[in-house]
C-alpha cells in the first residue's frame, strides 16, 4: 500500500457532491416554505375539516294537545344505529357484523347506505332499535368503531289510529320536498310532517335543531366536544279536538268505512274528526317499512285518505237544506207553498221517483225535509233553475275548499251550464237540474262542507272557517272570522223546523236523543244507477253511501256534524252513528266530573 495517494481529484469532485446535497436540502426547504408559510391557511382549514364534525341535535317537535290539554301527539326517546361508511376499513365486514348483531338483512342496510347523499354523514341503518340491540352493539363498540348509537326524539301518537288523519304523521323528507322552498334548509333524512296538522304546521312544530361541533379521530370516534348550540324545541300546539268525543266518534263507526266531523257551529273549531279505515301514525314515525307503505297506498279502502276533506260524495238529500234555503230566499216558494206528491213525477219526458213508492201526499217545505220528499224538490229545482241553485250552494260554502288548516283539501263540485260547456263541451239539459235538486248527478261535497252547511242553519246564517288549531305555543291563532251570508231569520226558522222534524218524526228518527232536541237531515248518495242496484241488491260495494248532517241542541246549538257511512245502504246507519256521537257529547256536558259513560249507556 502506498503511503500517499493523490487525493486532489477526489476532493474536487467531493465539492460537487457537497453542492448537490446542499442544493437538494435547499429545494426541500423551498417546498416546506410553500406548504407551511404560503399555504398554511389552506392546510389548516383542511386539517380542521378533517377533525371536526358537526352533529345536529334534533329539536323535539312540538307536542299536540287537545282542548283540555290532554296529549294527542308527543315524543319519546329512541335509539338509532348509525354507521359512517368512510370510517370503515372493510365496509362489507362491518355490514355483515351489524346485520348479524341486529338480526336484520344486509340488503336493507346496504340500501340505506346507498341512498345517502353527503359524504362523512352517519347513515341510520336501524331506527328505533330496542334496548337489547343497543346493548349488543355497545358490547361490540371496540370491534365496530364506525358504528354508533344516537338518541333521538321519536314522534309518539298515544291515540294510535284515532284522529290519525287530523293529526297526520311524520316521515323522512322526500326528494321533491327537498327541492321545494317550503322545506328550505332541511337536509336529507329530516323527519317532516307528511299529513294532517303535522304537515300543515310543520315548520312551526319543528322548532330549530341545535348542533354540536365535535372533534373526531381518524376512525370517526368522538374525542371531545368543541362547541354546542342547544336546540330550540318546537312549541306545543293546542287543538280544538276533544279526545273523549273523538274516541266516541271512532267507536261509533265500529269498523265501518266512512267519516265524521263535529264542529263548533259558532267558531268553526273542529271537535272531532275521524276517517275510517285509518292507519297508525306510529308506524310512520321511524320512516315506514316499504312493504307496509305499499299495502297502505294500494289498499282499495284507501286508509291514507282523509275522507272528511278528501272524500267527495254526492250529498244526496242533505242537499235539500241548500235547496230549501235557496227557494225560500229567492221567493220561489213560501213556507206555506205545497205540492202534491204521488210518489213519482214525470219531468221532461222521464219518470222520476220519490223516496217512497206511495208518495207523501200534500207536502210543504218542512214536511218535504222531514220525509225527504223528492217530488217537492223536483218542483223547487225546476222553479229555481241551475244558476240560482249553484249560486246558493256556493254561498253556503260548497264547490270550493273550506280552507280548513289541513293540507290537500278537496272542494267538491257544484255544476252549472258554464262548467259543463267548459269541461264536457255540451249544453246543460234541464233534466240535470232535477237531479241536482236532490243532490245527485254531478254534485259532490265533502263531509266537512256538509257539516258547515248544518252549522250555517245552526248559527243563524254565518259561514265559519273550520279549523283544528286553537293556539300555538301559548298564543292564539287568527282565523278568518265567521261572516254572514245573508239568510233571513224566517228562512232559517223554517229550515230548522224542517230539520227538527227529520229527527222528531221523519227519516232521521234514529238520531233522536231523550234529553236533547236534534235537528238533522238524512241523505243517500247513489253509487250506481237504480237499475244496477236492483239487479244485484246484495253486492255491498254498490250500496249507496248514507249521510246524516245535524246540529244540536236545535234551539241552542253547540255542535254541528256530518256523518258519512260508505255503502251504508241507507241513511239509517249514518243517523245511528250521529246519535251515538251526540249522546256522548251531551252526556259529558251534563256530567263533566263523572267517569266517562259509554255512548250506549245514555239515551
Amino acid at each position: 500500500m502506498r503511503l500517499y495517494e493523490d487525493l486532489r481529484p477526489v476532493r474536487t469532485r467531493l465539492a460537487v457532491v457537497q453542492v448537490v446535497v446542499a442544493g437538494l436540502v435547499a429545494l426541500l426547504l423551498l417546498q416546506f416554505w410553500n406548504l407551511q408559510v404560503l399555504r398554511a391557511r389552506h392546510f389548516q382549514d383542511l386539517a380542521e375539516n378533517n377533525r371536526s364534525r358537526v352533529v345536529t341535535i334534533a329539536a323535539p317537535r312540538g307536542a299536540l294537545l287537545d282542548r283540555q290539554g290532554q296529549l294527542l301527539v308527543g315524543n319519546r326517546p329512541s335509539f338509532n344505529v348509525v354507521l359512517t361508511p368512510e370510517h370503515a376499513e372493510d365496509l362489507d365486514r362491518v355490514v355483515t357484523r351489524v346485520a348479524r348483531t341486529l338480526g336484520t338483512g344486509e340488503a336493507a342496510i346496504r340500501e340505506r347506505l346507498a341512498r345517502r347523499r353527503v359524504p362523512y354523514e352517519p347513515v341510520v341503518v336501524r331506527s328505533d332499535a330496542d334496548i337489547a340491540e343497543v346493548a349488543a352493539l355497545e358490547a361490540r363498540r371496540l370491534e365496530l368503531p364506525e358504528v354508533s348509537i344516537q338518541v333521538v326524539p321519536l314522534r309518539f301518537y298515544p291515540l294510535a289510529t284515532a284522529a290519525a288523519h287530523a293529526l297526520g304523521r311524520v316521515g323522512e323528507i322526500s326528494e321533491r320536498q327537498l327541492d321545494s322552498p317550503a322545506f328550505e334548509g332541511l337536509e336529507a333524512g329530516a323527519l317532516v310532517g307528511q299529513a294532517g296538522v303535522e304537515a300543515q304546521y310543520n315548520r312551526a312544530l319543528m322548532g330549530r335543531d341545535g348542533y354540536r361541533r365535535v372533534i373526531v379521530n381518524s376512525r370517526g370516534l368522538e374525542v371531545t366536544e368543541a362547541q354546542r348550540q342547544p336546540p330550540e324545541d318546537g312549541p306545543a300546539f293546542t287543538l280544538s279536538l276533544d279526545t273523549s268525543l273523538q274516541m266516541a266518534t271512532e267507536r261509533a263507526f265500529a269498523g265501518r268505512a266512512g267519516s265524521a266531523v263535529v264542529l263548533d257551529p259558532w267558531t268553526g273549531e273542529i271537535l272531532a274528526m275521524t276517517s275510517t279505515p285509518a292507519y297508525d301514525p306510529n308506524e310512520f314515525a321511524t320512516g315506514i317499512d316499504p312493504t307496509l307503505w305499499t299495502s297502505l297506498a294500494n289498499d282499495p279502502e284507501t286508509p291514507l285518505m282523509n275522507r272528511v276533506i278528501q272524500g267527495q260524495y254526492a250529498p244526496g238529500s242533505t242537499f235539500k237544506i241548500v235547496m230549501a234555503t235557496a227557494a225560500l230566499e229567492e221567493g220561489v216558494i213560501t213556507p206555506e207553498t205545497t205540492f202534491f206528491c204521488p210518489g213519482h213525477l214525470r219531468v221532461y219526458g222521464k219518470v222520476r221517483h220519490c223516496s217512497v213508492p206511495g208518495g207523501h201526499g200534500i207536502v210543504d217545505v218542512r214536511r218535504a225535509l222531514a220525509m225527504s220528499c223528492n217530488v217537492f224538490f223536483y218542483h223547487v229545482g225546476m222553479a229555481l233553475e241551475i244558476e240560482r241553485i249553484a249560486a246558493w250552494a256556493k254561498r253556503m260554502g260548497l264547490g270550493e275548499p273550506t280552507g280548513v288548516d289541513l293540507p290537500h283539501e278537496l272542494g267538491g263540485l257544484i255544476p252549472n251550464p258554464e262548467w259543463k260547456l267548459r269541461t264536457q263541451k255540451t249544453a246543460w239539459y234541464p233534466g240535470e237540474t232535477v237531479s241536482v235538486a236532490i243532490g245527485q248527478g254531478q254534485v259532490t261535497a265533502t263531509p266537512l262542507q256538509m257539516a258547515r252547511v248544518a252549522a250555517i242553519i245552526a248559527n243563524g246564517g254565518w259561514l265559519v272557517r273550520p279549523h283544528l288549531v286553537h293556539s300555538a305555543g301559548g298564543g292564539g291563532l287568527d282565523f278568518e272570522p265567521p261572516r254572514p251570508i245573508g239568510i233571513s231569520e224566517e228562512t232559517l226558522a223554517v229550515v230548522k223546523e224542517g230539520m227538527k222534524a227529520v229527527v222528531a218524526g221523519g227519516t232521521g228518527w234514529r238520531a233522536r236523543l231523550r234529553h236533547t232536541v236534534v235537528a238533522g237531515k238524512t241523505g243517500t248518495a247513489q253509487v250506481v244507477s237504480r237499475e244496477a242496484l236492483e239487479r244485484s241488491p246484495d253486492d255491498p260495494s254498490i250500496q249507496p253511501h248514507g249521510w246524516f248532517v245535524a246540529f244540536a241542541p236545535a234551539d241552542e246549538p253547540r255542535v254541528a256534524l256530518a256523518v258519512l257511512v260508505e255503502h251504508g245502504g241507507s241513511s239509517g246507519v249514518a243517523a245511528a252513528v250521529a246519535r251515538s256521537i251526540l249522546a256522548r257529547y251531551f252526556s259529558q256536558e251534563r256530567r263533566p266530573a263523572a267517569p266517562p259513560p259509554t255512548a250506549e249507556a245514555v239515551d
Partner: protein
Amino acid sequence: MPLGIDRRLLLNVDWVLLGTALILSLVGVAMVYSAAHTGGSPDLHLKQLVLVGVGLLGLVGAAATDYRRLADRPVLLYVVSVLALAYVVRFGPLIAGTRRWVVIGGFQLQPSEFVKLAAAVVVAKIFAEYRQESLGLRDLLWPGAAVGLLGLLIALEPDLGTAACLVPMLFTVAFLAGLRMRAVVGLVVVMLLASALAWPFLRDYQKTRIYTFLDPSLDPKGAGYQKIQSQIAVGSGGVIGRGYLEGTQGQLGYLPARHTDFIFSVLAEEMGFLGVVAVLGLYLLVLWRMLETARLARDRLGAFLAAGITASLAFQVVYNVAMVAGLVPVKGLPLPLLSYGGSSVLATLMGVGLILSVRMRRFAN
C-alpha cells in the same frame, strides 16, 4: 492494535458529527413519543431510546474498528451479505406481505440495513483498487454487478426503498473515483431508459402509488390518502407549528405510518417551518461533516467509504422528506435516526461510527 485506545485517535474524533447525530436521535425519540403514545403501544419511545443506546455501542465499536482492516476481507463481507439476504428472502417470516426480517433471540433485524454498510465497504474497496486517473463505463461493470445482485435480493423482499439506496452510493463513489463526464451523462440516459423499461415489471400497488402520486384525488381514501394527509399535516403546521403533542393530524391518527416513514410529518405539524429548518439543518450538518471526513481522509479507501455511506444516507433523508412534502411518490423508506425502527437506527449509527473511524485515522499509521 485491536480497539486501539490511542490518544491520537481520540483527538481526532469528530465530536460535532457525533453530537449532531445524537441530537437527531433524541429528537427522534421525542417524535416517536408524540406519534405513538396514544396508540396501541404507548411506550415505543422507550424502546427507541434503548435502541439509540445500543446504536451508540455499535457506533463506538465501528469507530474503534480500523476501516482498512474491515476492507481487507471484501469477499467474505460480500458473501455473508448475499447469504443473509438470500436467507431472508427465502426463509424470513412474512410480515405485512414482505420478508425483510430475521428474528434473532426475540429481536427483529433487517439485514438489508447492514448490507448497505457492507456494500459501502465493498464498493469503496473495489474503486480504491483502481489505479487509473479516469474511469469508463466498463470499469463500472464489476462493482455494478456486485451491488446489483445485492439490490436485486433486497428488491425481492420486496424493499424497493432500501434497494434504491445502493444506487446513489455506487454512483457517488464511481464519480469520486474519476468516472468520465461522458460516462456520467451516458449513465443518466441509461437510467431514464431503464426506469421506462422497468414499468411493465412493477407490481400493481407500485404502479398505483405512482399514479396516485401524480393525482392524489384519484383515490383519496386509498393510495392517495397518505400523500394528502401528510401534506395537510405539514401545511397546517405553519411557521411555528401546532405545538408538541398538539398536532391533530398526528394525534388523531389521520397520518399513516406516523411513527415510522411519516415521522417527519408529525415533526412538521407540531414544530412548524422553524422545526423543519432546524432538523433539516442538523441533517445538513451531519452530511456536511461526513463529506468533510471524505475530503480529509488519508486514503482513497477512506474517502470512498465515507462518501458511499454519506450518499446512501443523504438519499434516504432527501427522499423521505421529499415524500413527506408530497414531492415524490410514497415509498417505504424510514428517515434515518428519526423514524422508529431498531435496524435503521443501529445501522445508521454504525455508519456514523465508520465515518468517525475514517476521520480518526486520517493521520494514523
